[in-house]
Protein backbone atom coordinates (compact mmCIF):
# COMPACT_ATOMS: atom_id res chain seq x y z
CA UNK A 1 0.00 0.00 0.00
CA UNK A 2 2.90 2.33 0.51
CA UNK A 3 3.91 2.32 -3.13
CA UNK A 4 2.03 5.57 -3.63
CA UNK A 5 2.85 7.63 -6.64
CA UNK A 6 2.70 11.39 -6.37
CA UNK A 7 0.45 12.78 -9.09
CA UNK A 8 0.33 16.40 -8.01
CA UNK A 9 2.60 18.18 -5.63
CA UNK A 10 1.94 21.67 -4.28
CA UNK A 11 5.05 23.36 -2.94
CA UNK A 12 4.76 26.21 -0.52
CA UNK A 13 1.74 27.85 -2.12
CA UNK A 14 0.86 31.40 -1.15
CA UNK A 15 -2.10 32.87 -2.97
CA UNK A 16 -3.59 36.35 -2.88
CA UNK A 17 -6.85 37.91 -4.04
CA UNK A 18 -5.61 41.47 -4.43
CA UNK A 19 -3.76 42.10 -1.19
CA UNK A 20 -5.77 39.59 0.78
CA UNK A 21 -4.01 36.33 1.42
CA UNK A 22 -6.19 33.25 0.87
CA UNK A 23 -3.56 30.52 1.17
CA UNK A 24 -0.38 30.51 3.25
CA UNK A 25 2.51 28.11 2.69
CA UNK A 26 0.42 25.16 1.61
CA UNK A 27 2.43 22.09 0.69
CA UNK A 28 0.73 18.83 -0.07
CA UNK A 29 1.08 15.71 -2.18
CA UNK A 30 -1.87 14.23 -4.06
CA UNK A 31 -1.45 10.54 -4.75
CA UNK A 32 -2.32 8.81 -7.95
CA UNK A 33 -5.52 6.75 -8.02
CA UNK A 34 -6.40 7.85 -4.53
CA UNK A 35 -9.21 10.07 -3.32
CA UNK A 36 -8.02 13.06 -1.36
CA UNK A 37 -10.65 14.94 0.62
CA UNK A 38 -10.24 18.56 1.55
CA UNK A 39 -12.16 19.67 4.60
CA UNK A 40 -12.34 22.81 6.67
CA UNK A 41 -14.70 25.57 7.70
CA UNK A 42 -16.24 27.94 5.18
CA UNK A 43 -13.83 30.51 3.77
CA UNK A 44 -10.68 28.60 4.70
CA UNK A 45 -9.48 28.39 1.11
CA UNK A 46 -10.58 24.94 -0.03
CA UNK A 47 -12.07 26.13 -3.31
CA UNK A 48 -9.20 28.49 -3.85
CA UNK A 49 -6.79 25.62 -3.45
CA UNK A 50 -8.41 23.17 -5.84
CA UNK A 51 -9.05 25.89 -8.40
CA UNK A 52 -5.31 26.45 -8.45
CA UNK A 53 -4.72 22.85 -9.42
CA UNK A 54 -6.32 23.33 -12.84
CA UNK A 55 -5.41 26.99 -13.17
CA UNK A 56 -9.03 28.05 -12.91
CA UNK A 57 -8.17 30.91 -10.58
CA UNK A 58 -6.41 32.69 -13.39
CA UNK A 59 -9.83 33.73 -14.62
CA UNK A 60 -10.20 35.85 -11.50
CA UNK A 61 -8.58 39.22 -12.14
CA UNK A 62 -5.95 40.69 -9.87
CA UNK A 63 -4.64 37.58 -8.15
CA UNK A 64 -1.07 36.53 -7.41
CA UNK A 65 0.63 33.30 -6.57
CA UNK A 66 3.91 32.20 -5.05
CA UNK A 67 5.06 28.62 -5.02
CA UNK A 68 4.82 25.78 -7.49
CA UNK A 69 2.36 23.07 -8.41
CA UNK A 70 3.85 20.04 -10.10
CA UNK A 71 1.76 17.72 -12.22
CA UNK A 72 3.93 14.64 -12.68
CA UNK A 73 6.95 16.77 -11.85
CA UNK A 74 6.16 19.46 -14.39
CA UNK A 75 5.36 22.90 -13.03
CA UNK A 76 1.89 23.77 -14.32
CA UNK A 77 2.63 27.47 -13.94
CA UNK A 78 5.71 27.35 -16.12
CA UNK A 79 5.33 29.95 -18.88
CA UNK A 80 5.73 27.24 -21.51
CA UNK A 81 2.68 25.37 -20.21
CA UNK A 82 -0.68 26.01 -21.86
CA UNK A 83 -3.43 26.41 -19.21
CA UNK A 84 -5.92 24.97 -21.68
CA UNK A 85 -3.93 21.75 -21.80
CA UNK A 86 -3.77 21.62 -18.01
CA UNK A 87 -7.54 22.00 -17.76
CA UNK A 88 -8.02 19.19 -20.21
CA UNK A 89 -5.80 16.90 -18.15
CA UNK A 90 -7.38 17.98 -14.87
CA UNK A 91 -11.17 17.99 -15.05
CA UNK A 92 -13.40 19.83 -12.64
CA UNK A 93 -16.93 19.35 -11.31
CA UNK A 94 -18.52 22.27 -9.53
CA UNK A 95 -20.72 22.73 -6.51
CA UNK A 96 -23.81 23.54 -8.51
CA UNK A 97 -24.44 21.33 -11.54
CA UNK A 98 -23.70 23.50 -14.56
CA UNK A 99 -24.74 21.73 -17.75
CA UNK A 100 -24.95 23.93 -20.83
CA UNK A 101 -28.46 24.72 -22.05
CA UNK A 102 -27.92 22.22 -24.85
CA UNK A 103 -28.79 18.58 -25.37
CA UNK A 104 -27.31 15.82 -23.24
CA UNK A 105 -25.32 14.65 -26.23
CA UNK A 106 -23.98 18.12 -27.00
CA UNK A 107 -22.96 18.57 -23.39
CA UNK A 108 -20.83 15.47 -23.35
CA UNK A 109 -19.41 15.95 -26.82
CA UNK A 110 -18.55 19.60 -26.17
CA UNK A 111 -15.04 18.95 -24.89
CA UNK A 112 -14.28 16.66 -27.82
CA UNK A 113 -15.45 19.18 -30.38
CA UNK A 114 -13.47 22.06 -28.98
CA UNK A 115 -10.44 19.83 -28.85
CA UNK A 116 -10.74 19.47 -32.61
CA UNK A 117 -12.30 16.02 -32.87
CA UNK A 118 -14.69 15.81 -35.82
CA UNK A 119 -15.07 12.05 -36.35
CA UNK A 120 -18.78 11.51 -35.70
CA UNK A 121 -18.48 7.81 -34.91
CA UNK A 122 -15.72 8.39 -32.45
CA UNK A 123 -17.66 11.17 -30.75
CA UNK A 124 -20.75 9.04 -30.48
CA UNK A 125 -18.80 6.16 -29.00
CA UNK A 126 -17.04 8.44 -26.55
CA UNK A 127 -20.28 10.08 -25.44
CA UNK A 128 -21.80 6.66 -24.72
CA UNK A 129 -18.73 5.52 -22.84
CA UNK A 130 -18.53 8.66 -20.76
CA UNK A 131 -22.20 8.50 -19.82
CA UNK A 132 -21.75 4.86 -18.82
CA UNK A 133 -18.73 5.67 -16.70
CA UNK A 134 -20.71 8.44 -15.05
CA UNK A 135 -23.51 5.94 -14.29
CA UNK A 136 -26.02 7.97 -16.22
CA UNK A 137 -26.35 6.01 -19.45
CA UNK A 138 -29.27 3.81 -18.42
CA UNK A 139 -31.30 6.80 -17.33
CA UNK A 140 -30.79 8.89 -20.45
CA UNK A 141 -30.02 6.59 -23.34
CA UNK A 142 -33.48 7.09 -24.86
CA UNK A 143 -33.44 10.86 -24.66
CA UNK A 144 -29.89 11.78 -25.38
CA UNK A 145 -30.93 14.65 -27.63
CA UNK A 146 -33.19 16.29 -25.06
CA UNK A 147 -32.19 19.46 -23.28
CA UNK A 148 -29.93 18.71 -20.34
CA UNK A 149 -31.76 21.19 -18.13
CA UNK A 150 -34.69 18.77 -18.03
CA UNK A 151 -32.63 16.32 -15.94
CA UNK A 152 -32.85 16.24 -12.16
CA UNK A 153 -30.11 17.92 -10.14
CA UNK A 154 -28.36 14.64 -9.41
CA UNK A 155 -28.54 13.58 -13.04
CA UNK A 156 -27.21 16.96 -14.11
CA UNK A 157 -24.25 16.55 -11.79
CA UNK A 158 -23.48 13.12 -13.24
CA UNK A 159 -23.82 14.65 -16.68
CA UNK A 160 -21.19 17.22 -15.70
CA UNK A 161 -18.97 14.36 -14.60
CA UNK A 162 -19.53 12.64 -17.96
CA UNK A 163 -18.67 15.88 -19.73
CA UNK A 164 -15.34 15.91 -17.89
CA UNK A 165 -14.63 12.25 -18.53
CA UNK A 166 -15.14 12.61 -22.29
CA UNK A 167 -11.87 14.48 -22.73
CA UNK A 168 -9.99 11.75 -20.84
CA UNK A 169 -8.55 13.71 -17.96
CA UNK A 170 -6.06 12.19 -15.53
CA UNK A 171 -7.28 14.02 -12.45
CA UNK A 172 -10.80 14.94 -11.35
CA UNK A 173 -11.45 17.84 -9.02
CA UNK A 174 -14.79 17.97 -7.22
CA UNK A 175 -15.75 21.15 -5.38
CA UNK A 176 -18.57 20.15 -3.03
CA UNK A 177 -20.27 18.12 -5.77
CA UNK A 178 -23.16 17.07 -3.56
CA UNK A 179 -23.84 20.36 -1.84
CA UNK A 180 -27.04 20.94 -3.78
CA UNK A 181 -28.19 17.33 -4.05
CA UNK A 182 -30.60 15.13 -2.11
CA UNK A 183 -29.31 12.14 -0.08
CA UNK A 184 -30.04 9.56 -2.78
CA UNK A 185 -28.30 11.53 -5.50
CA UNK A 186 -25.47 12.14 -3.07
CA UNK A 187 -24.94 8.45 -2.42
CA UNK A 188 -24.97 7.79 -6.16
CA UNK A 189 -22.23 10.35 -6.68
CA UNK A 190 -20.25 8.85 -3.81
CA UNK A 191 -20.49 5.37 -5.29
CA UNK A 192 -19.41 6.82 -8.57
CA UNK A 193 -16.36 8.47 -7.03
CA UNK A 194 -15.28 5.17 -5.50
CA UNK A 195 -15.65 3.56 -8.91
CA UNK A 196 -13.82 6.33 -10.78
CA UNK A 197 -10.88 6.20 -8.43
CA UNK A 198 -9.67 3.08 -10.28
CA UNK A 199 -8.94 5.19 -13.32
CA UNK A 200 -8.44 8.71 -12.02
CA UNK A 201 -6.78 10.67 -9.29
CA UNK A 202 -9.49 12.46 -7.36
CA UNK A 203 -9.59 15.51 -5.13
CA UNK A 204 -12.88 16.33 -3.42
CA UNK A 205 -13.82 19.32 -1.32
CA UNK A 206 -16.58 18.55 1.12
CA UNK A 207 -18.29 19.99 4.15
CA UNK A 208 -19.67 16.63 5.05
CA UNK A 209 -17.40 14.74 7.44
CA UNK A 210 -19.15 11.43 6.82
CA UNK A 211 -18.69 11.90 3.13
CA UNK A 212 -14.98 12.55 3.55
CA UNK A 213 -14.73 9.46 5.72
CA UNK A 214 -16.70 7.34 3.26
CA UNK A 215 -15.03 8.22 0.00
CA UNK A 216 -11.50 9.39 0.70
CA UNK A 217 -8.18 7.68 1.28
CA UNK A 218 -6.42 10.83 2.39
CA UNK A 219 -7.74 13.93 4.08
CA UNK A 220 -6.38 17.44 4.29
CA UNK A 221 -7.71 19.84 6.90
CA UNK A 222 -7.50 23.54 6.07
CA UNK A 223 -8.02 26.41 8.45
CA UNK A 224 -7.74 30.11 7.63
CA UNK A 225 -5.74 29.46 4.49
CA UNK A 226 -3.31 27.06 6.09
CA UNK A 227 -2.99 23.33 5.75
CA UNK A 228 -3.24 22.17 9.35
CA UNK A 229 -3.03 18.46 8.94
CA UNK A 230 -2.75 15.95 6.15
CA UNK A 231 -2.76 12.19 6.36
CA UNK A 232 -4.62 8.97 5.82
CA UNK A 233 -8.31 9.55 6.29
CA UNK A 234 -8.48 6.84 8.89
CA UNK A 235 -5.77 8.47 10.96
CA UNK A 236 -7.20 11.94 10.63
CA UNK A 237 -10.59 10.79 11.80
CA UNK A 238 -9.50 8.43 14.54
CA UNK A 239 -6.30 9.95 15.82
CA UNK A 240 -5.81 13.54 14.67
CA UNK A 241 -2.47 14.98 15.72
CA UNK A 242 -3.59 18.57 15.88
CA UNK A 243 -6.05 19.80 18.45
CA UNK A 244 -7.75 22.03 15.86
CA UNK A 245 -8.36 19.08 13.54
CA UNK A 246 -9.90 17.16 16.37
CA UNK A 247 -12.14 20.07 17.31
CA UNK A 248 -13.32 20.41 13.74
CA UNK A 249 -14.09 16.80 13.02
CA UNK A 250 -15.86 16.31 16.29
CA UNK A 251 -17.95 19.36 15.56
CA UNK A 252 -16.63 21.35 18.48
CA UNK A 253 -15.64 24.14 16.21
CA UNK A 254 -17.03 27.69 15.93
Amino acid sequence: MDRRIVKIEARDINFFYGSRQALSSVSIEIYKNQVTAIIGPSGCGKSTFIRLLNRMNELVPNTSLKGAILLEEEDIFDPSVDPVEIRRRIGMVFQKPNPFPKSIFENVSYGLKINGITDGNFIEKKVGESLKKAALWDEVKDRIHENALKLSGGQQQRLCIARCLAVEPEVLLFDEPCASLDPISTSKIEELILELKKYYTIVIVTHNMQQAARVSDYTAFFLLGELIEFGKTQDIFTAPKDKRTEDYITGRFG
Binding site: N54, V84, E85, F94, P101, G111, I114, R163, V167
Partner: protein, 294 residues
Protein backbone atom coordinates in the same frame (compact mmCIF):
# COMPACT_ATOMS: atom_id res chain seq x y z
CA UNK B 1 -54.38 51.60 11.26
CA UNK B 2 -51.48 49.73 9.62
CA UNK B 3 -54.03 47.78 7.70
CA UNK B 4 -55.58 50.93 6.36
CA UNK B 5 -52.19 52.19 5.28
CA UNK B 6 -51.48 48.95 3.49
CA UNK B 7 -54.81 49.18 1.73
CA UNK B 8 -54.06 52.73 0.63
CA UNK B 9 -50.68 51.70 -0.79
CA UNK B 10 -52.29 48.90 -2.67
CA UNK B 11 -54.76 51.28 -4.17
CA UNK B 12 -52.18 53.84 -5.19
CA UNK B 13 -50.00 51.26 -6.91
CA UNK B 14 -52.94 49.62 -8.62
CA UNK B 15 -54.04 52.96 -10.01
CA UNK B 16 -50.50 53.76 -11.15
CA UNK B 17 -50.13 50.36 -12.78
CA UNK B 18 -53.41 50.70 -14.60
CA UNK B 19 -52.82 54.28 -15.64
CA UNK B 20 -50.16 53.27 -18.15
CA UNK B 21 -52.59 50.74 -19.54
CA UNK B 22 -55.22 53.46 -19.76
CA UNK B 23 -52.81 55.71 -21.66
CA UNK B 24 -52.07 52.93 -24.09
CA UNK B 25 -55.75 52.28 -24.66
CA UNK B 26 -56.30 56.02 -25.04
CA UNK B 27 -53.61 56.26 -27.68
CA UNK B 28 -55.05 53.37 -29.60
CA UNK B 29 -58.55 54.85 -29.46
CA UNK B 30 -57.33 58.22 -30.69
CA UNK B 31 -55.33 56.65 -33.50
CA UNK B 32 -58.30 54.66 -34.70
CA UNK B 33 -60.80 57.47 -34.25
CA UNK B 34 -58.69 60.04 -36.07
CA UNK B 35 -57.06 57.68 -38.54
CA UNK B 36 -59.96 55.60 -39.83
CA UNK B 37 -61.94 58.47 -41.44
CA UNK B 38 -59.27 58.71 -44.15
CA UNK B 39 -60.61 55.47 -45.54
CA UNK B 40 -63.70 57.36 -46.63
CA UNK B 41 -61.39 59.03 -49.16
CA UNK B 42 -59.15 56.13 -50.06
CA UNK B 43 -59.40 52.35 -49.89
CA UNK B 44 -57.09 50.76 -47.27
CA UNK B 45 -55.20 48.85 -49.97
CA UNK B 46 -54.65 52.01 -52.00
CA UNK B 47 -53.55 53.79 -48.88
CA UNK B 48 -50.88 51.24 -48.03
CA UNK B 49 -49.79 50.30 -51.54
CA UNK B 50 -50.44 53.58 -53.33
CA UNK B 51 -47.26 54.94 -54.88
CA UNK B 52 -48.08 58.62 -54.76
CA UNK B 53 -48.20 60.79 -51.68
CA UNK B 54 -49.70 64.13 -52.73
CA UNK B 55 -51.93 64.96 -49.77
CA UNK B 56 -52.28 68.66 -50.66
CA UNK B 57 -53.00 68.32 -54.38
CA UNK B 58 -56.41 68.57 -55.91
CA UNK B 59 -57.51 65.83 -56.04
CA UNK B 60 -55.19 64.61 -53.27
CA UNK B 61 -53.43 61.24 -53.37
CA UNK B 62 -52.88 59.28 -50.22
CA UNK B 63 -50.52 56.43 -51.14
CA UNK B 64 -48.05 55.86 -48.31
CA UNK B 65 -45.90 53.21 -49.98
CA UNK B 66 -43.07 55.73 -50.55
CA UNK B 67 -43.13 56.56 -46.84
CA UNK B 68 -43.24 52.93 -45.76
CA UNK B 69 -40.40 52.07 -48.11
CA UNK B 70 -38.40 55.05 -46.88
CA UNK B 71 -38.84 53.92 -43.29
CA UNK B 72 -37.93 50.40 -44.30
CA UNK B 73 -34.79 51.39 -46.21
CA UNK B 74 -33.55 53.73 -43.56
CA UNK B 75 -34.18 51.18 -40.81
CA UNK B 76 -32.47 48.35 -42.67
CA UNK B 77 -29.55 50.65 -43.46
CA UNK B 78 -29.33 51.63 -39.81
CA UNK B 79 -29.26 47.95 -38.85
CA UNK B 80 -26.15 47.45 -40.96
CA UNK B 81 -24.49 50.06 -38.81
CA UNK B 82 -25.82 49.43 -35.33
CA UNK B 83 -25.81 45.63 -35.26
CA UNK B 84 -22.10 45.07 -35.93
CA UNK B 85 -21.07 48.14 -33.95
CA UNK B 86 -23.44 47.53 -31.04
CA UNK B 87 -22.96 43.79 -30.70
CA UNK B 88 -19.23 44.09 -31.35
CA UNK B 89 -18.75 46.68 -28.65
CA UNK B 90 -20.93 44.65 -26.26
CA UNK B 91 -18.65 41.66 -26.81
CA UNK B 92 -15.62 43.84 -26.25
CA UNK B 93 -17.04 45.31 -23.06
CA UNK B 94 -18.08 41.97 -21.69
CA UNK B 95 -15.22 39.79 -22.77
CA UNK B 96 -12.09 41.82 -23.32
CA UNK B 97 -12.35 45.04 -21.37
CA UNK B 98 -10.86 44.85 -17.91
CA UNK B 99 -12.86 45.78 -14.84
CA UNK B 100 -11.67 49.36 -14.83
CA UNK B 101 -12.33 49.89 -18.51
CA UNK B 102 -15.83 48.53 -18.18
CA UNK B 103 -16.51 50.69 -15.15
CA UNK B 104 -15.87 53.73 -17.36
CA UNK B 105 -17.25 52.52 -20.69
CA UNK B 106 -20.57 50.99 -19.66
CA UNK B 107 -21.95 54.20 -18.10
CA UNK B 108 -20.57 56.12 -21.06
CA UNK B 109 -22.54 53.92 -23.44
CA UNK B 110 -25.63 54.46 -21.33
CA UNK B 111 -25.11 58.23 -21.53
CA UNK B 112 -24.74 58.00 -25.29
CA UNK B 113 -28.02 56.08 -25.42
CA UNK B 114 -29.79 58.90 -23.63
CA UNK B 115 -28.56 61.79 -25.78
CA UNK B 116 -31.61 63.44 -27.37
CA UNK B 117 -32.08 62.47 -30.98
CA UNK B 118 -32.01 66.07 -32.13
CA UNK B 119 -28.34 66.12 -31.21
CA UNK B 120 -27.68 63.11 -33.41
CA UNK B 121 -29.73 64.87 -36.07
CA UNK B 122 -27.46 67.88 -35.91
CA UNK B 123 -24.41 65.69 -36.05
CA UNK B 124 -25.78 63.96 -39.16
CA UNK B 125 -26.77 67.22 -40.79
CA UNK B 126 -23.60 69.18 -40.07
CA UNK B 127 -20.97 66.44 -40.29
CA UNK B 128 -22.11 63.34 -42.13
CA UNK B 129 -24.21 64.95 -44.85
CA UNK B 130 -21.62 67.48 -46.12
CA UNK B 131 -18.90 64.89 -45.86
CA UNK B 132 -20.83 62.37 -47.99
CA UNK B 133 -21.90 65.04 -50.43
CA UNK B 134 -18.30 66.03 -51.09
CA UNK B 135 -16.98 62.52 -51.06
CA UNK B 136 -19.53 61.07 -53.49
CA UNK B 137 -20.41 64.27 -55.41
CA UNK B 138 -24.09 63.98 -54.53
CA UNK B 139 -26.64 66.69 -55.32
CA UNK B 140 -27.53 66.64 -51.62
CA UNK B 141 -26.03 64.95 -48.60
CA UNK B 142 -29.47 64.67 -47.01
CA UNK B 143 -30.51 61.24 -48.18
CA UNK B 144 -31.44 57.72 -47.07
CA UNK B 145 -27.81 56.82 -46.65
CA UNK B 146 -27.07 59.69 -44.28
CA UNK B 147 -30.24 58.94 -42.38
CA UNK B 148 -29.24 55.27 -42.07
CA UNK B 149 -25.80 56.18 -40.86
CA UNK B 150 -27.06 58.71 -38.34
CA UNK B 151 -29.81 56.44 -37.06
CA UNK B 152 -27.38 53.54 -36.92
CA UNK B 153 -24.96 55.54 -34.82
CA UNK B 154 -27.82 56.67 -32.65
CA UNK B 155 -29.13 53.13 -32.07
CA UNK B 156 -25.67 51.64 -31.45
CA UNK B 157 -25.49 52.48 -27.73
CA UNK B 158 -28.97 51.04 -27.18
CA UNK B 159 -28.05 47.80 -28.91
CA UNK B 160 -24.71 47.68 -27.14
CA UNK B 161 -26.15 48.28 -23.71
CA UNK B 162 -28.91 45.67 -23.98
CA UNK B 163 -26.64 43.11 -25.65
CA UNK B 164 -24.07 43.64 -22.91
CA UNK B 165 -26.74 43.02 -20.29
CA UNK B 166 -27.65 39.79 -22.07
CA UNK B 167 -24.02 38.70 -22.12
CA UNK B 168 -23.55 39.48 -18.47
CA UNK B 169 -26.64 37.43 -17.56
CA UNK B 170 -24.93 34.34 -18.92
CA UNK B 171 -24.12 32.51 -15.71
CA UNK B 172 -20.46 32.43 -14.80
CA UNK B 173 -20.85 28.69 -14.32
CA UNK B 174 -21.30 28.17 -18.08
CA UNK B 175 -17.97 29.80 -18.78
CA UNK B 176 -16.30 27.85 -16.00
CA UNK B 177 -17.72 24.60 -17.31
CA UNK B 178 -16.36 25.39 -20.73
CA UNK B 179 -12.91 26.35 -19.48
CA UNK B 180 -12.83 23.29 -17.27
CA UNK B 181 -12.89 20.92 -20.24
CA UNK B 182 -10.06 22.76 -21.95
CA UNK B 183 -11.81 25.39 -24.05
CA UNK B 184 -10.00 28.64 -24.65
CA UNK B 185 -11.61 32.05 -24.38
CA UNK B 186 -12.59 32.30 -28.00
CA UNK B 187 -14.16 28.83 -28.10
CA UNK B 188 -16.04 29.58 -24.93
CA UNK B 189 -17.35 32.82 -26.38
CA UNK B 190 -18.48 31.31 -29.68
CA UNK B 191 -19.84 27.99 -28.43
CA UNK B 192 -21.25 28.84 -25.04
CA UNK B 193 -21.59 32.53 -24.26
CA UNK B 194 -23.02 33.82 -27.53
CA UNK B 195 -25.55 30.99 -27.96
CA UNK B 196 -26.65 31.38 -24.35
CA UNK B 197 -27.05 35.13 -24.82
CA UNK B 198 -28.37 34.70 -28.35
CA UNK B 199 -31.98 35.52 -27.73
CA UNK B 200 -31.01 38.44 -25.52
CA UNK B 201 -28.82 39.76 -28.30
CA UNK B 202 -31.68 39.40 -30.77
CA UNK B 203 -33.91 41.31 -28.39
CA UNK B 204 -31.29 44.06 -28.36
CA UNK B 205 -31.29 44.12 -32.13
CA UNK B 206 -35.07 44.25 -32.39
CA UNK B 207 -35.31 47.02 -29.83
CA UNK B 208 -32.60 48.93 -31.70
CA UNK B 209 -34.65 48.41 -34.82
CA UNK B 210 -37.85 49.69 -33.26
CA UNK B 211 -35.93 52.68 -31.98
CA UNK B 212 -34.69 53.34 -35.52
CA UNK B 213 -38.05 52.92 -37.20
CA UNK B 214 -39.86 55.11 -34.68
CA UNK B 215 -37.24 57.85 -34.67
CA UNK B 216 -38.61 61.16 -35.87
CA UNK B 217 -36.34 64.10 -35.23
CA UNK B 218 -33.21 62.68 -36.76
CA UNK B 219 -34.81 61.54 -39.99
CA UNK B 220 -36.69 64.79 -40.27
CA UNK B 221 -33.34 66.56 -40.19
CA UNK B 222 -31.20 64.31 -42.37
CA UNK B 223 -33.35 62.12 -44.65
CA UNK B 224 -34.06 64.87 -47.17
CA UNK B 225 -37.83 64.65 -47.12
CA UNK B 226 -38.80 63.70 -50.68
CA UNK B 227 -41.96 61.60 -50.67
CA UNK B 228 -41.11 59.47 -53.67
CA UNK B 229 -40.31 55.82 -53.94
CA UNK B 230 -36.55 55.60 -53.40
CA UNK B 231 -34.40 54.05 -56.11
CA UNK B 232 -31.04 54.38 -54.44
CA UNK B 233 -29.69 54.94 -50.97
CA UNK B 234 -28.38 58.31 -52.04
CA UNK B 235 -31.77 59.89 -52.76
CA UNK B 236 -33.72 61.99 -50.31
CA UNK B 237 -36.56 60.09 -48.70
CA UNK B 238 -39.45 60.79 -46.36
CA UNK B 239 -40.00 58.10 -43.71
CA UNK B 240 -43.40 57.80 -42.03
CA UNK B 241 -42.36 59.58 -38.87
CA UNK B 242 -41.01 62.62 -40.63
CA UNK B 243 -44.10 62.85 -42.82
CA UNK B 244 -46.26 63.00 -39.71
CA UNK B 245 -44.06 65.52 -37.94
CA UNK B 246 -43.52 67.75 -40.95
CA UNK B 247 -47.09 67.82 -42.18
CA UNK B 248 -49.13 67.84 -39.01
CA UNK B 249 -48.68 71.58 -38.62
CA UNK B 250 -49.99 72.42 -42.05
CA UNK B 251 -52.83 69.89 -42.33
CA UNK B 252 -56.15 71.54 -41.45
CA UNK B 253 -57.76 69.82 -38.53
CA UNK B 254 -60.41 67.34 -39.58
CA UNK B 255 -59.28 67.30 -43.22
CA UNK B 256 -58.52 64.10 -45.09
CA UNK B 257 -54.83 64.99 -44.92
CA UNK B 258 -55.10 65.33 -41.16
CA UNK B 259 -56.79 61.93 -40.87
CA UNK B 260 -54.28 60.35 -43.20
CA UNK B 261 -51.42 61.37 -40.89
CA UNK B 262 -53.15 59.63 -38.02
CA UNK B 263 -53.59 56.58 -40.22
CA UNK B 264 -49.83 56.60 -40.88
CA UNK B 265 -49.25 56.79 -37.15
CA UNK B 266 -51.56 53.82 -36.75
CA UNK B 267 -49.54 51.80 -39.26
CA UNK B 268 -46.33 52.77 -37.48
CA UNK B 269 -47.82 51.89 -34.14
CA UNK B 270 -48.81 48.45 -35.36
CA UNK B 271 -45.33 47.83 -36.78
CA UNK B 272 -43.50 48.78 -33.58
CA UNK B 273 -46.08 46.92 -31.55
CA UNK B 274 -45.31 43.73 -33.47
CA UNK B 275 -41.56 44.33 -33.07
CA UNK B 276 -41.89 44.69 -29.35
CA UNK B 277 -44.03 41.61 -28.99
CA UNK B 278 -41.50 39.61 -30.94
CA UNK B 279 -38.73 40.97 -28.71
CA UNK B 280 -40.69 40.02 -25.62
CA UNK B 281 -41.35 36.49 -26.88
CA UNK B 282 -37.71 35.99 -27.72
CA UNK B 283 -36.45 37.24 -24.41
CA UNK B 284 -38.94 35.08 -22.56
CA UNK B 285 -37.66 32.03 -24.39
CA UNK B 286 -34.16 33.12 -23.46
CA UNK B 287 -34.94 33.31 -19.77
CA UNK B 288 -36.54 29.88 -19.82
CA UNK B 289 -33.58 28.46 -21.69
CA UNK B 290 -31.15 29.69 -19.07
CA UNK B 291 -33.40 28.34 -16.35
CA UNK B 292 -34.08 31.83 -15.00
CA UNK B 293 -37.84 31.29 -14.96
CA UNK B 294 -40.52 32.52 -17.35
Amino acid sequence: MAKLKEKAYRWIFTVLAFSSLIFLVGIIIVLFKEGLPVFKEVKPADFIFGKAWYPTFDPPEFGILPLILASFWVTVGAMFVCVPLGVGSALYLNELAGHRQRAVLKPLVEILASIPSVVYGFFGMMMIAPFLQNLLHLPTGLCAFTASLTLGIMATPTVCSIAEDALSYVPKSFREASFAVGANRWQTLVNVVIPAAGSGISTAIILGMSRAIGETMTVLMVAGGAAVIPHSFFEPVRPMTSAIAAEMGEAPMGSAHYHSLFAIALVLFLITFVFNIVAELISRRFRIKLGLGG
